[in-house]
């Protein structure tokens, strides 16, 4: 009998190259400890409902009725469900050809894609074509599909911010492309300096890499920064002059915690610039139901919108989408509800508004609590979370801690995070999972733990950190970048 095909040695090398720290070493260790009975606070992934955030009422009512339409035959249904939820459910069911159990169009139900187009138009002031909007099982699926379409071989490079959400690095590894990093400026609140972009691109090209696309994550993950309009303009001009597709990950567009830089979509800025840019720049924009104040991660609902992508390319993208038959229909309905929520005058409007505001205001407060909590530690510097769901503090580690990490065979921030986990049950993701400058260490946590638990969590962190520093510090002070 020959050796088994699925020996580790004979599997696809690209698969082995993939790293996805969000559910990597720290998460696996945390899960082990949880099984052993330790109380764990999972702050490794932006998963609001897992940390106690309640689902919004209206969408759940609509989906319940869509999942079980026989409920609407019951004369008492109006006692349990508000009339607008019932009407919405009937409306969505009428858009399907056989209810939620039937495959939809591979691009998603046309009626819902129209709702998304209307939302984009309302948000940006420019019309959007539903034919160029594809619904997907979460935004990640769309990102992977686009990267697979763009990457032809290992000489094709994708500009990715550092630090980045490691879906991008994982996908680039999987598809055998080349990641071209551009560093965000930590000392300037993680802003994007256009010089860094030029530098990275030039350097990559010198190595023989064909830079094909640029990824922006706005608001940023893990860094939280919101791009200014002028920054976006610079980026668009850069992409046009360098002939790059712009991939705009805008999944956190609802999560904004400061007023100086509200969310502006890349598409809006592009169209504000007008021709020729607005007709030339190839742009793909991503959005999801997993974040915002909805946090419906488990539904797997998202979309991508294509701008200035040629019809023949769109046909190929459609072809690949069709192999999976269709995105899940409940997720599509969640998306429709998110982009077309209850309006003033609707029966459910007040409750919906109240629930949404409560979540957003609490997130804003928690962003401050966390940032302040981290900054109260003398070896920790934390930029304010302008948007998204994370805090990404820089932890300055003393040389002896770094040595201890090396001895334990761990990257320093992994070492620190494992110790933090074991001491406090707080499960974070080490900064090395997102990329960072050499010799600088971070961890990513979310701002999602319940507001009433926050002070205790930050106190717990501070206690651990101060003890860690006492253990490893010496009179010479701590390491610096």
């Amino acid at each position: 009998m020959s050796s088994k095909t699925l020996d580790y040695d004979s599997i696809n090398e690209n698969v082995k190259k993939v790293a996805y720290a969000v559910r990597g070493e720290l998460y696996l260790r945390a899960s082990e400890l949880q099984k052993e009975g330790k109380k764990i606070v999972f702050t490794n992934v932006g998963n609001p409902h897992a940390l106690g955030q309640k689902p919004l009422t209206f969408p759940r009512q609509v989906i319940a009725l869509c999942q079980a339409p026989f409920l609407m035959d019951d004369p008492n249904v109006g006692l349990i469900f508000p009339a607008d939820a019932i009407a919405r459910a009937k409306h969505y069911l009428s858009l399907t050809s056989g209810g939620l159990g039937a495959y939809s169009d591979s691009r998603g139900l046309p009626g819902i894609r129209k709702e998304v187009a209307d939302f984009i138009q309302k948000r940006d002031g420019y019309p959007s074509d539903p034919e160029l909007i594809y619904l997907t099982d979460g935004a990640s699926k769309g990102v992977m599909q686009m990267l697979n379409t763009i990457i032809r071989n290992d000489k094709d490079g994708i500009l990715v911010p550092v630090p980045q959400y490691p879906l991008y690095s994982a996908a680039i590894s999987l598809f055998g492309g080349s990641l071209v990093p551009y560093y965000l400026e930590e000392s300037a609140n993680w802003s994007l300096d256009i010089k860094n972009l030029y530098q990275s691109t030039t350097e990559a090209r010198r190595r023989g890499v064909t830079v094909r696309a640029m990824v922006i994550i706005n608001p940023g993950n893990p860094t939280g920064q919101c791009l200014s309009e002028s920054n976006l303009r610079e980026i668009l001009e850069f992409c046009i002059s360098e002939n790059l597709v712009l991939l705009a990950d805008e999944v956190y567009q609802q999560n904004i915690y400061q007023d100086e830089r509200p969310f502006i979509s890349a598409r809006k800025v592009l169209f504000d610039m007008g021709p020729p840019w607005s007709k030339e720049l190839q742009l793909v924009s991503f959005h999801t139901v997993s974040k915002g104040y909805w946090g419906e991660c488990g539904q797997r609902g998202g979309y991508f919108e294509m701008t200035n992508i040629p019809p023949k390319t769109v046909d190929e993208i459609y072809k690949v989408a069709s192999i999976s038959l269709s995105p899940n229909v409940p997720g599509q309905i969640f998306l429709g509800l998110m982009v077309n929520p209850p309006k003033p005058g609707d029966i459910s409007y007040l409750k919906y508004e109240q629930e949404s505001k409560a979540v957003l205001e609490s997130l804003r407060r928690r962003a401050h609590i966390m940032t302040d909590g981290f900054n109260s530690c003398r070896n920790v510097v934390c930029n304010f979370t302008e948007g998204a769901m994370y805090s990404f503090p820089q932890i300055r580690l003393p040389p002896r801690a770094i040595e201890a990490a090396k001895k334990a065979g761990k990257v320093p921030d992994v070492f620190y995070c494992l110790k933090l986990l074991e001491a406090t049950g707080i499960s974070t993701v080490p900064g090395s999972g997102f990329g960072q400058k050499e010799g600088v260490f971070h961890l990513r946590t979310t701002i999602l733990p319940a507001e009433e638990d926050m002070p205790q969590i930050m106190a717990s962190f501070k206690k651990f950190n101060d003890e860690f520093m006492e253990q490893y510090e010496d009179y010479r002070g701590y390491s610096r970048m």
Partner: protein, 395 residues
């Protein structure tokens, strides 16, 4: 409004979900409690134990196929044995992941039988061309062909995979759709375990879906793969790839657990559930028969018995003049026929060339799914069209 057992089942499921949060990302393999339920269902079905850690819940069975192709294929030197005719997810996925499809032809003359001699021949030929044959895909019941493998056949396949060191990918999504009394669905897991082969002997990937059977919940995107016989280091890689997409949709996960663990005798919903199930399956069997007979009554058509799944794959002997007309239009002959059928009768089928067929033969794939009371109308429209077509192109 809702039956008492559906309420208690819902409570039970909610208790299995951390924080009862159905909107949260779950474990990347799927919610543990639901996997336990599915594992118990598999154990009850096969009579051999199933470990819930071997289960990966996915958005339908298709993403599981993609994951396996990703894992197995490093280059075009890597080959996967696929039945011809096949469900074109396999050919598409292999192409997408840069591998090579190694075809093995099912024998139409013997009811789409899978012949070991053909499998062996194709494997040897591929290897002689420098291809590393890594896996064998078997679709049972077959799509588009509808045959249900005999136990003997399955045993031969298991032995072949073990001898040749191949991963066996068992697409079993139509396991509930069997319409003949002389055949039974047996999972490849059951067959290999009953032969005494365990995890050390055979690497097996078994696929199931909520899209087919009698539930037909295609739009929910639910399914799973059960993966046994893999080393721990390889399983880590599978987990890692699954984790990049975080998890499959929760609604689909829940449905998968319900499909593998439906209401039991004594449950409040058992009778109504059973009636619904039997009604659907018996109707599918009747529809299969009606359409099969209809095709067999048409000039030039021959249709194998639909033993299972949801399709007919009748062969059409196209007159020479029809083939010439197709060529004149630059069309593949079965595409030409299917297009004419669509335009004349409004019936949408998929040309056999989309699934692969023995060279020089033409087929169309048609589902057995139009509502039973509409089938006579479908048959009459088909008949009318076909008669006119043959009149036009007959020698």
């Amino acid at each position: 409004m809702l039956s008492s057992d559906s309420i208690s089942r819902a409570q039970q499921i909610l208790d299995q979900i951390p924080g009862r949060a159905t909107g949260a990302y779950s474990h990347s393999q799927g919610i543990k409690g639901l996997r336990d339920t599915i594992a118990a269902g598999i154990t009850a079905r096969d009579g051999f134990p199933c470990n819930s850690d071997d289960i990966y819940l996915t958005n339908g069975a298709s993403p599981a196929v993609h994951m396996m192709m990703e894992l197995l294929l490093s280059s075009e030197k890597d080959g996967i044995l696929c039945p011809i005719p096949q469900y074109p997810l396999y050919s598409a996925s292999i192409t997408l992941h840069g591998g090579t499809l190694v075809p093995y032809y099912l024998n139409e003359a013997s009811c789409w039988g899978l012949e070991m001699s053909e499998l062996k021949r194709q494997t040897e030929e591929a290897r002689s061309k420098g291809i590393r044959v890594k896996a064998l895909v078997v679709i049972n019941p077959g799509n588009p062909t509808g045959q249900v493998l005999s136990e003997e056949n399955q045993k031969d396949i298991v032995e072949f995979c073990i001898e040749e060191g191949l991963v066996l990918i068992a697409d079993e999504v139509y396991q509930e759709d069997v319409y003949v009394d002389n055949k039974k669905f047996n999972s490849f897991k059951k067959i290999s375990r009953s032969m005494g082969f365990g995890e050390e002997d055979i690497a097996l990937v078994s696929l199931q879906s909520i899209s087919k059977g009698y539930y037909g919940e295609c739009g929910k995107r639910g399914g799973y793969m059960e993966v046994t016989g893999f080393s721990a280091s390889v399983k880590e890689q599978i987990y890692k790839i699954a984790s990049v997409n975080l998890c499959s949709n929760i609604s689909g996960q829940i449905l998968s657990s319900l499909v593998m663990s439906p209401p039991k005798v004594g449950d409040a919903s058992f009778d109504s559930y059973r009636a619904e199930r039997d009604g659907i399956l018996s109707s599918l069997a009747r529809r299969a028969k009606m359409l099969e007979e209809a095709f067999n009554s048409l000039e030039g058509f021959s249709c194998n018995k639909v033993e299972g799944a949801m399709y007919l794959f009748p062969r059409i002997n196209l007159p020479r003049r029809a083939i010439q007309a197709a060529q004149a239009e630059n069309a593949v002959p079965d595409v030409f026929y299917a297009r004419r059928l669509l335009e004349a009768a409004g019936i949408v089928v998929v040309p056999g060339s989309g699934f692969g067929q023995a060279p020089g033969t033409w087929h169309i794939r048609c589902t057995i799914l139009p509502q039973e009371n509409k089938i006579p109308m479908v048959i009459s429209k088909l008949t009318e069209f076909h008669k006119a077509f043959m009149t036009e192109f007959r020698e």
